[in-house]
C-alpha cells in the first residue's frame, strides 16, 4: 500500500474536480439564481481540502502498484460522490439524500430523491447534469484507458473478454492518446446532441443540460416530467438516437471515426446482439400491450421507454407507474443485460450475456455429441473457456449481490415490487424503478438510500473491483 502516493493523486484529482464548480457558478451568475453562494462555498471547501492534501503528500513518491489501482478506482467514485454531495447538502437536503443524489449522478444512474425539479435554481439543476457527464467521462477514461493499464478490475475483465474490440489490442499505443481520443468522441457526441436538442426546440439551457445526461447514459432531467416535458417527437428521436449511440462500445466509434472503418459497426457481434435485444424487447412489449385489455400505452411511449431502460439511461416521456407490471419487468430484464461493454452504460453488459448464452449452447451441444470438441466463439473470434467461466462467476456474484441487497432493502419496509426494481435499477445504473420508486426515491428510508447508493457504486465498478477491497487477503501485507 502506498498511502502517500494515493493521497497525492486524490488531492490533485479533487483540485481538478473543484474547477468544475466554475460552470455552475457561471450558470448561477447568468440566471441570477439563489445558489451562487452554495457553489462558491463548495469550491472553497473542495479546493482547500485538495490543496491541503497535496501539500501534505508532496514530495517523492513510490510508484503505484496493482493493489493501489483497486483502491484508486473505488475511491475515485466514493470521494467524488462525497465532494459532489456538498452543494446538495448546503441547499438544505439531508446528508444521506445529498450523498444519494451525488452518487446517482457520478455513477450515471439517474435515480433522484428530489421532486419539484422545476422549482430548483438553474445552477443546481445544471450541476446535477454535469455530475453525470463527468461520471461518464471518468468511467470512459478509467475503465477504458486506465484500468487495463493497471491490469485490474473492470478493465481486466474487459481486457479478457472483448477480443478485437479494443481490449486485446489497445486503440493507440499510448494511453494518453487513447484517453484523448475517447474524450473527444464523448465531447463530440455531447455537442452534437445539444445542437440537435436545440434545433428540436429546447432552450439553450435545457439542450445543454439534457445532452450532458443523454450521452452519459445518466437520465437526470431538469424537469419532473423528464423528456416528456417537451412533448416533441423530434426531441424524443434525437434522444433515442444518442442513447443508443452512447450505449455502443466507444472502441467502435473510435474505429469508425479515427480509423475510418465504419463497417466495424456491422461486423461487431456484440452490437448486433445488443440491437436485437432492443428490438426483441420492444416487440415483446408491443405484444404484451396488445393483449392487456386495460392499458392504453402508445407505440411511441413503448419505443422510447424500452430504449431508455435497456440502455440503462432512465429518461421517461410519461408516467409509467400504472403500466402493466409485465412490461415494467420486461424492460428491467433488458436493463440487466444492459449496454455494450466499453460504453458508459450499465448492466451486466451485452458482451457477457452473449458469452453466457454461447457457453450454455456449447454445453447443450456437448450433450448431443458426447465426443464433440467445441470452442466458444463470438462472431468469428474464439473466446477462451476461462473467460466464459469468469463471466459466469461474475454473473453469480451479480445475482448474489442482487439478492442480498434486495433482502436488505425489504427490511426497510419497501414492498417487493418497488424493492426489486429499485435494486435492479441502481445495480444496473438505470435510475427509476417501478411502483413507489418509479419517479423519485424520496420515500425510501435513509438506510434504504444508503443501500441503494452502495448498489450504484457496486454496479458501476462491475462488482469485483469493489468486492476485492472486502477480502482479507487484499489487505494482507
Amino acid at each position: 500500500m502506498n498511502l502517500k502516493a494515493i493521497i497525492n493523486l486524490f488531492s490533485i484529482l479533487v483540485m481538478f474536480f473543484s474547477a468544475s464548480f466554475a460552470l455552475p457558478i457561471a450558470v448561477s451568475i447568468i440566471f441570477k439564481d439563489s445558489a451562487l453562494m452554495i457553489f462558491i462555498i463548495t469550491f472553497c471547501i473542495v479546493f482547500g481540502l485538495g490543496f491541503f492534501g497535496w501539500l501534505a503528500s508532496k514530495g517523492k513518491n513510490d510508484e503505484l502498484g496493482k493493489k493501489d489501482g483497486f483502491i484508486i478506482v473505488t475511491f475515485f467514485w466514493l470521494i467524488l460522490a462525497v465532494a459532489g454531495s456538498i452543494p446538495f447538502a448546503l441547499s438544505g437536503m439531508s446528508f444521506v439524500d445529498a450523498f444519494f443524489e451525488s452518487m446517482s449522478g457520478i455513477t450515471t444512474t439517474g435515480a433522484t430523491v428530489i421532486s419539484g425539479l422545476d422549482d430548483l435554481p438553474q445552477s443546481l439543476l445544471f450541476y446535477r447534469q454535469l455530475l453525470q457527464w463527468m461520471g461518464g467521462m471518468g468511467l470512459i477514461v478509467l475503465a477504458i484507458a486506465v484500468m487495463p493499464l493497471l491490469g485490474i478490475g473492470g478493465g481486466q475483465l474487459y481486457k479478457a473478454e472483448i477480443p478485437g474490440a479494443m481490449n486485446d489490442q489497445k486503440l493507440t499505443p499510448r494511453m494518453k492518446e487513447t484517453a484523448q481520443a475517447l474524450w473527444a468522441i464523448y465531447f463530440g457526441l455531447t455537442v452534437l446532441c445539444a445542437l440537435l436538442y436545440y434545433i428540436g426546440g429546447m432552450s439553450g439551457f435545457d439542450a445543454i443540460s439534457h445532452s450532458l445526461s443523454t450521452v452519459s447514459i445518466g437520465g437526470f432531467s431538469t424537469h419532473d416530467q423528464s423528456i416528456g416535458y417537451f412533448n416533441s417527437g423530434f426531441i424524443e428521436t434525437v434522444c433515442i438516437l444518442f442513447m443508443v449511440l452512447s450505449a455502443l462500445s466507444f472502441a467502435l466509434h473510435y474505429f469508425a471515426i479515427y480509423m475510418r472503418k465504419p463497417l466495424k459497426y456491422f461486423a461487431d457481434p456484440e452490437l448486433r446482439f445488443f440491437i436485437s435485444i432492443l428490438i426483441i424487447i420492444f416487440l415483446v412489449s408491443l405484444i404484451i400491450n396488445l393483449f392487456s385489455k386495460s392499458s392504453d400505452i402508445s407505440i411511441r411511449e413503448l419505443l422510447f421507454h424500452s430504449v431508455s431502460i435497456v440502455t440503462t439511461t432512465g429518461f421517461s416521456i410519461s408516467n409509467s407507474a400504472d403500466w402493466p407490471i409485465s412490461i415494467g419487468f420486461l424492460f428491467l430484464l433488458g436493463a440487466f443485460i444492459g449496454a455494450c461493454s466499453g460504453s458508459v452504460g450499465g448492466g451486466i453488459k451485452s458482451w457477457r450475456v452473449l458469452i453466457m448464452i454461447n457457453y450454455a449452447y456449447i454445453n447443450l451441444m456437448k450433450l448431443v455429441h458426447p465426443n464433440g470438441v467445441f470452442s466458444l466463439k463470438i462472431g468469428s473470434k474464439t473466446v477462451e473457456e476461462g473467460v466464459a467461466s469468469s463471466v459466469w462467476g461474475f454473473f453469480s456474484i451479480y445475482v448474489i449481490s442482487f439478492v442480498i441487497l434486495l433482502l436488505a432493502l425489504l427490511v426497510t419496509g419497501l414492498d417487493f415490487e418497488s424493492a426489486f426494481s429499485a435494486i435492479g435499477a441502481c445495480l444496473n445504473n438505470l435510475g427509476p424503478g417501478l411502483g413507489d420508486v418509479s419517479q423519485t426515491y424520496g420515500t425510501v428510508t435513509p438506510f434504504g438510500k444508503s443501500i441503494l447508493a452502495f448498489a450504484m457504486i457496486l454496479g458501476r465498478l462491475e462488482i469485483f473491483t469493489l468486492l476485492v477491497l472486502f477480502t482479507p487477503i487484499f489487505w494482507d501485507k
Binding site: 465426443n371 464433440g372 470438441v373 470452442s375
Partner: protein, 451 residues
C-alpha cells in the same frame, strides 16, 4: 535434363520414382539416410545426404544452369531458402517449391523475383480434387487434362438413368450441343471400347471425356439426377481434412473425427460450423452415436492407409452411403472390392502436376484410372513435326495404337476436338489417350518421341 529433388518424404519419393522412369537424371537430397537408401535400392537415382537448404548439399546434388530444383521438404521455410540458394548461387533453370501454408502460397513472389518459378501445394490439390468429387455426386473419378479444359469422368450407370437401355449414340438426341466421347466402358469388370450402337446397361462403369462445363449434365444421363450430398463425415483433421471441412462447411453438414485432442481444439476454433469430434474413426460406438447411417459421404483422409481402409469399411457396413479415402498403397483396394467407392492416391496428383509443369516432357500426364485393372489415361504433347515423325499427314484414325488404346480427345490451342477420322495431327496438340492396360504405356509414349 537434371532434376534435383529436395526432401525424400512421400512427395519427394513418388516424384523420384516417376521422374527417374522418364529419362531424367534425378538426384535427391535428404537428411535421413534410411529414406535415401530405400529409394536408391529401387531407383536409378543419385542420393545426397544433407540438409536441403544448405548450399553444400545442393552443390553435391549437382545443381547447375540446366537443372530443375524441386523443393518438397515438409518445411515451407526450408523449401523457400533452398529455392533462393538454387537460383542465386547455382543459377538453376527452374525451381518448383512446395508450400504447406497457403499464406505463403498467396505471396510467394515476395521471396524474390524469379526465385520460385512454380509453387505447388499437394494438400491443396488433394483438397480441391476431393471437393470436386463431393460437388459432383455420381462421379467416381474426375481427372483434369490440358490445364482443366477437359475432364475425364467415371460414372456408374444406374437403372433410372435416361441413357440406360438405349444406344450410346442417342446421347446426341438428348444433348445436341454437348460433345462427349466415351473411350471405354467397364461391364462386369471387363473393359471394352464402345461404338454408337452400344446399349448402356445398368451398373456399367462409363468413362467419358468432355469439356469441363458439361460434366454435370452428362453424369445425369447415366443416372437419375442425384440429390447433392448433404451430410459429410471427415476422418482425420490434418491439413487436407481441415481445409476440406473449411471449404465444405458452408454448404454441407460436416462432422470431423480426429483422435488428437489438441488438434481437435485447434479445429474447433478455426472451423465455424463443422462439428469436431474427438475419438477414433474405428470406434463403432462413436460412429453409431453420430448417426453414421445418415452420412452421405464418408471421407477417410488420415495419413494412415490402414485407418482409412478400416474406418471406411466400418462406415460402409454401418450404413454410410458412400465412402471416399486417400490411399498411398493401392494394393489394399483389391482386398475389399465394393466397399470403397472413391479413392485418391494423394501424391500422384502432385506428381502429375509437376509433370505438367515440366513442359518439355512429351507425356504431360499419366493418370491411373482403375488401379486394380491397370487402366490408364495419358496426356501426351506432340513435339514432333512432319520431318521427325511418320505420324504426320495421317488421319488420327490411322495412327498405329496398341490394342486397348484409343485417342479420347485432342486439345488444340485450348480447344477440345473430338477425335474423328478427318482430324490430322499438329505440333503441340495435346492427345488424351485412354489405355485399358497400362502395359501399353511405353508403346504409346514412343509415339510422342521425336527421333
Amino acid at each position: 535434363m537434371k532434376i534435383v529433388i529436395l526432401g525424400a518424404g512421400k512427395v519427394g519419393g513418388s516424384l523420384a520414382r516417376n521422374l527417374s522412369n522418364s529419362d531424367y537424371q534425378v538426384s535427391i537430397v535428404d537428411e535421413d539416410k534410411s529414406k535415401l537408401s530405400a529409394l536408391e535400392e529401387r531407383l536409378d537415382i543419385m542420393t545426397v545426404e544433407g540438409h536441403a537448404a544448405k548450399p553444400n548439399s545442393i552443390m553435391r546434388a549437382g545443381a547447375d544452369e540446366d537443372t530443375i530444383v524441386i523443393a518438397v521438404t515438409s518445411n515451407d521455410e526450408v523449401n523457400i531458402i533452398a529455392c533462393q540458394i538454387a537460383k542465386k548461387m547455382f543459377n538453376v533453370k527452374k525451381t518448383i517449391c512446395r508450400f504447406k501454408d497457403t499464406s505463403y502460397l498467396e505471396h510467394y513472389e515476395v521471396f524474390g523475383e524469379g526465385i520460385i518459378d512454380i509453387p505447388i501445394c499437394p494438400e491443396n490439390e488433394v483438397t480441391s480434387h476431393l471437393k470436386e468429387l463431393i460437388n459432383n455426386p455420381g462421379a467416381d473419378q474426375i481427372e483434369h487434362f490440358a490445364g482443366d479444359k477437359v475432364k475425364l469422368v467415371s460414372v456408374k450407370a444406374k437403372k433410372k438413368g435416361k441413357l440406360v437401355g438405349r444406344e450410346l449414340k442417342s446421347i446426341k438426341d438428348d444433348m445436341p450441343d454437348v460433345d462427349a466421347y466415351i473411350p471405354s466402358i467397364y461391364r462386369k469388370g471387363r473393359p471394352f471400347i464402345p461404338d454408337g450402337d452400344t446399349i448402356i446397361k445398368e451398373n456399367d462403369e462409363v468413362y467419358f471425356i468432355s469439356s469441363s462445363d458439361n460434366i454435370g449434365s452428362i453424369i445425369d444421363e447415366f443416372r437419375d439426377h442425384e440429390d447433392a450430398y448433404s451430410r459429410i463425415m471427415i476422418v482425420g483433421g490434418g491439413r487436407v481434412g481441415y481445409s476440406l471441412a473449411r471449404d465444405l462447411e458452408k454448404t454441407y453438414k460436416v462432422k470431423l473425427i480426429e483422435s488428437n485432442i489438441d488438434k481437435c481444439k485447434f479445429l474447433s476454433k478455426e472451423l465455424e460450423k463443422t462439428i469436431v469430434l474427438n475419438g477414433s474413426a474405428t470406434d463403432e460406438e462413436l460412429l453409431k452415436s453420430e448417426n453414421i447411417s445418415n452420412i452421405d459421404m464418408f471421407c477417410a483422409l488420415t495419413d494412415d492407409d490402414e485407418t482409412n481402409v478400416m474406418s471406411s469399411l466400418l462406415a460402409k457396413k454401418m450404413g454410410a452411403k458412400k465412402t471416399m479415402i486417400v490411399l498411398n498403397n493401392p494394393s489394399y483396394l483389391g482386398l475389399v472390392p465394393g466397399f470403397i467407392d472413391i479413392y485418391i492416391a494423394p501424391y500422384r496428383l502432385t506428381v502429375s502436376s509437376v509433370l505438367q509443369d515440366l513442359r518439355e516432357s512429351d507425356v504431360a500426364q499419366d493418370v491411373m484410372l482403375k488401379m486394380e485393372a491397370g487402366a490408364e489415361a495419358i496426356e501426351g504433347i506432340v513435339h514432333a513435326n512432319e520431318y521427325t515423325s511418320k505420324l504426320f499427314d495421317k488421319s488420327i484414325k490411322d495412327i498405329p495404337l496398341p490394342g486397348g488404346a484409343c485417342i479420347a480427345a485432342i486439345v488444340r490451342h485450348g480447344e477440345v476436338i473430338m477425335p474423328s477420322s478427318a482430324v490430322e495431327l499438329c505440333l503441340n496438340d495435346h492427345l488424351i489417350i485412354f489405355l485399358a492396360d497400362k502395359k501399353a504405356v511405353s508403346e504409346v509414349e514412343k509415339l510422342f518421341k521425336s527421333n
